[in-house]
Symmetry: D2
Subunit: 384 residues, 4 copies
Amino acid sequence: MQAAVLVAPGRYEIEEFSRPALPDGALLMQIELSGICGTDKHTYQGETKQYAGTPAETDTPFPIIQGHENVGIVSEITPTAASSLEFYGRPLKVGDRIAMCPDIVCGRCYECTHVMGYVWCEHSDCYGNSYSSADWPHLMGGWSQQMYIRPDTFVYKVPSGLSPKAAVLVELMACAASLDKLKEFSSMSHEGFNSGDTVVVIGSGPLGLLHVAKADMMGAGQVIATDLSETRLAFAKRMGADVTMNVAQTSAEERIALVRELTSGRGADVVLHMANTPASFVEGIEMLKRGGMMLEMGNFADTGEVSINVHRHVCSKNIRLIGITNHPSTGYGPALSLMERHADRYPFEEMVSHQFALADVDLAMRTSMDPTSLKVAMAPNGFI
Amino acid sequence: MQAAVLVAPGRYEIEEFSRPALPDGALLMQIELSGICGTDKHTYQGETKQYAGTPAETDTPFPIIQGHENVGIVSEITPTAASSLEFYGRPLKVGDRIAMCPDIVCGRCYECTHVMGYVWCEHSDCYGNSYSSADWPHLMGGWSQQMYIRPDTFVYKVPSGLSPKAAVLVELMACAASLDKLKEFSSMSHEGFNSGDTVVVIGSGPLGLLHVAKADMMGAGQVIATDLSETRLAFAKRMGADVTMNVAQTSAEERIALVRELTSGRGADVVLHMANTPASFVEGIEMLKRGGMMLEMGNFADTGEVSINVHRHVCSKNIRLIGITNHPSTGYGPALSLMERHADRYPFEEMVSHQFALADVDLAMRTSMDPTSLKVAMAPNGFI
Amino acid sequence: MQAAVLVAPGRYEIEEFSRPALPDGALLMQIELSGICGTDKHTYQGETKQYAGTPAETDTPFPIIQGHENVGIVSEITPTAASSLEFYGRPLKVGDRIAMCPDIVCGRCYECTHVMGYVWCEHSDCYGNSYSSADWPHLMGGWSQQMYIRPDTFVYKVPSGLSPKAAVLVELMACAASLDKLKEFSSMSHEGFNSGDTVVVIGSGPLGLLHVAKADMMGAGQVIATDLSETRLAFAKRMGADVTMNVAQTSAEERIALVRELTSGRGADVVLHMANTPASFVEGIEMLKRGGMMLEMGNFADTGEVSINVHRHVCSKNIRLIGITNHPSTGYGPALSLMERHADRYPFEEMVSHQFALADVDLAMRTSMDPTSLKVAMAPNGFI
Amino acid sequence: MQAAVLVAPGRYEIEEFSRPALPDGALLMQIELSGICGTDKHTYQGETKQYAGTPAETDTPFPIIQGHENVGIVSEITPTAASSLEFYGRPLKVGDRIAMCPDIVCGRCYECTHVMGYVWCEHSDCYGNSYSSADWPHLMGGWSQQMYIRPDTFVYKVPSGLSPKAAVLVELMACAASLDKLKEFSSMSHEGFNSGDTVVVIGSGPLGLLHVAKADMMGAGQVIATDLSETRLAFAKRMGADVTMNVAQTSAEERIALVRELTSGRGADVVLHMANTPASFVEGIEMLKRGGMMLEMGNFADTGEVSINVHRHVCSKNIRLIGITNHPSTGYGPALSLMERHADRYPFEEMVSHQFALADVDLAMRTSMDPTSLKVAMAPNGFI
């Protein structure tokens, strides 16, 4: 079986691997689709130090098989995996479609015992990032025809009503569990995210687009999206945005003014900052109403500094600012359930704008960097 | 101008009133539709002591003009009302469509200063309930051609995209702000109401039906509705219910078993008890998962006692039980906004199943008690 | 080494056991004190079905060594236990004082992955309850000179400032993490537990007494305690209660009236129901203010039914009722820290009112049932 | 009666006023103590534009009588004030000791109807700041022998157990309602402020000192305080701080390292930033654990910009940052209640380090700027 191996930043090779023998508890998954994520682009470009300031920061152990947004079919399974690997306790068998959380967590550290969903494990490893393909069992990423699933992986059965093209988005959709977090931090004093609220999504890449849909699903009264790509903004409207603003054609002042105009002069209740740049961070704060809440998920890698006025942007603005990295293991079930429920309401499948064979992995990577693309996915066993 | 006056329990008379002179701050509203609510039925049947155990408990001051779910058109307005009566600060003028909160609150008592939305004012009065039509300004209920709006009323401009048949539901829809309350009480430890959750609505009368839609709007993963009327259950499906159970054709054990079957054996995350009977209260608790949350809004009037096992139903069940009466003044804006946004997704207008002229108020009242009706409304100036 | 073995309900025998060989990860603990808990009394009296309606319900596997509230000294330790068994990652060595959570959890079930602190594990076992002393490693309860600690136990180092007499209370004190739960469910709309609130504790047994102290520690404005024992009520005052009411000398009506008098007529913000009877359940609700919150922890075993009025006690009362069983593994660290911090402020050590040798286990059990006792503890290696 | 009038920045004059006639609802208060607050210093120094970016921003209407932290005795009262002015509905009479909230709010704007405690009223005015002493009723600040209390003022009866020296701190203590806010935003996922948490208070001026005490009162496990004054740090210890760090004698790196050392390497759960400088803002973030919560109350006036790294300080830090201005009207009752309850535990009275007669107002102002002072108060009718 073949896999695309990143032997060093910028250099892929297609390699042949043999089928690994499975210890009890493990399974083998035939990949249908494996998405390209922003993290993959950083690794490809040699920005291999990620998650700054956290214990998970490590260098990438080249060679690696990338791919952590995976959906596929169980192709071989061991008895214990069949009976108890699935996250919600459902039995698994060969032929079942599954998705997975790429994080392998320790379950014993302070973060694992104190934070729901194991999101901040101090010893977390990640499929598609942390494992060298030189080491057994080799097939630890999704840009491969078959992938090895360890007994300590979080695995989720895909509902029958959900196609692989929609299911490949589940890891990103699980990130939108962050909106439940905002609800958790809400109060009747109209902080957080309440029904009917105005939500601004800054940055309409794949993560932003799914947050547009999730905000719409969760009872937003008005959704406003920004991006520099008209393609993405057009797609944002199909995902539930009422108003879009092209940052290439408007000034920050104009965008802030429009948000105020659309909110009786008050500003947005919630801003979801999904852009990978500090440039729009202050703009996001200025779009908020007094006491509004901003979620920062965009600056997932180090993008430099920005200057803020503590008095004006924080204290007297009464801001509620929430930084979020990663997604909880508990977010996959709700994400799959909601994507199935609303499969006709949002064009999830069309978000997979491009599929590529393993041999075209370089082109796939370059396509994913083109702002007119949405989610680019590898299809190692043929297009779906 | 005419009004239907309830001179004593069970006895209506159509009376003629003269147009009241308006003090500055007040306005006159030409009623388009005024809904019949459960409270109105209690009053009609002589159950005139309501809100047991709370300071608001009073006898009804017959004669009264009922009707507190009102939508209509501004027919006369004073300068201060034009500039500052609307809840969100928007200007008003003759011809504007408005809705209103029927509660008149003191704004100074412990409850007013400590609870958002003035829901539990210790001195609350209510249009359609607390004011005798014998006293000036007489026209203090919606079953009248014109209605007097005091300067201390919460008034809401109806969005242009919303018809009066949908807007007459806004007071009930504002009650569904209770679901935001459940979100407020939620945590990542999967209590409260999270995305993808299974929600059971017990009792699919008008209040239950709007909660079905609101749960669907707010990201429920699965909505299950019960009622004894097939008409209402069919409507529940159109409002977003996935599964319905007819309580006339199934046993409590069967219903509880089905909820467990639909939730991998765990039980529902959230139960919304909207039935006006204690009989299904314990059933609701037994439908919950451990740590599940039940909202009690159905037993709005005294319906007697029920026996519970404190150990089994409360302590070891780890129940989170929330009683809710009334709705916040802050709930109208979001309700109107969401009803307009989702006007094509839910058949709000069809929920107004019957309209009646003032002369037919008795028939209207009887129709509202028929479980095949949904929302019955008075249309004092002609059908809409 | 010796242990008190409950060979059947009501019948103890002192048995001799040999020291078990320790697999890596385990340790041996020399018991200093092991408390007698309500659960132990139920088991002694043959009420061996507990946790009604939950998957953990099982019969007691006699013979057993009871004792799950344990503090002691590490007497033998294996390398992995030394480096990584402690919950917060601190190293352990022979001679260290430790406490422990008695629950052994699976860490993989729905409840373990969705609820903080593993409180509701579907496959939970419990030291002192679930393990037969006939099976290796035999010493699975604290009424023994030495106790075996499995590699999957939650173990906590006791701070140097805390004596064993105070530390033996830590499991009960960890139960008071429930008050943080009430804070979590609080809002600025004055629900839940806010600073300055009036808190009523119904039932001043050991659990109630520690909740009196915890409420005081967490910023209660006024604490009111009830019990039928003057000894306990006197102790409640030393733990922070401002007012006490003896239920043997007052009627429910008098107690409710006094709570209202002490709260400007409104009722308590929070009621903590810690009494093992349904009789005071409705009294607790009637002590609440509108929108008040009651915590039910007292009816830990099945005590029968009680009749409530759904309208008056739930809906129109706008009650927030929270059932709580068990305590989170994350509650021990804060409990130890707070008990050390406030060691001079509350008479924790004096709460251990009686100590008994293993040979006197019958007397110990009977003493624990006497309402003039507070916490009765076994001291298998001599009094402290 | 005399008052100290600030006729222009930096220039006080003692003026004589005549007793105003009271309209029904008003009362006259003989000032015992009136604190000097940071806001007063800004005004004195001509920094008269405050609350940047909010609608309340206005120029100071010189001449004014300053003083908004007031405690005194009812010296004249009208019938309506006697029966219904007190916030909790208690009757008032001549001779009663009262405190007051200096904010006069509209009660009708979006902020008043949507945020508990009227903290962000769009049309707020403030005793001691917004009213010219040239206009009737002239005596609208506390640096006066008598002060006029309008019928729309929030007035609070001081409990009998509380001296005026303690009660003059109530407005500041009411600001510490912000800690309840942090609890409201907490979850069992150990965000927000939980029992046993480590709390760092940056800046131990009067506001910081009261937050040290409040954190201690609310169940902090460990409190760490910083300041540049040894006097204040010594006082912080008496208010409940376990560890203090002098910022004049340590580097930011040393302080961050010490916080990590005191928290098993993780960082603080909560940082309360009470220093009026952006310099320590980033330091505060770096003291936090991952997912920790910081409250920004210090930069109440514009102090310039600071540079942050959005990735490192917000996103990957998973920060929860809450800006807070002002305090709720609902915070006074709990503040008075807690100060009375814990009057023996904390040296509240000694926090009033200096008292001055009206004639010495210049010296009072300069003393308040000396970091060795704590709360400096005017005593217009003689020292207490």
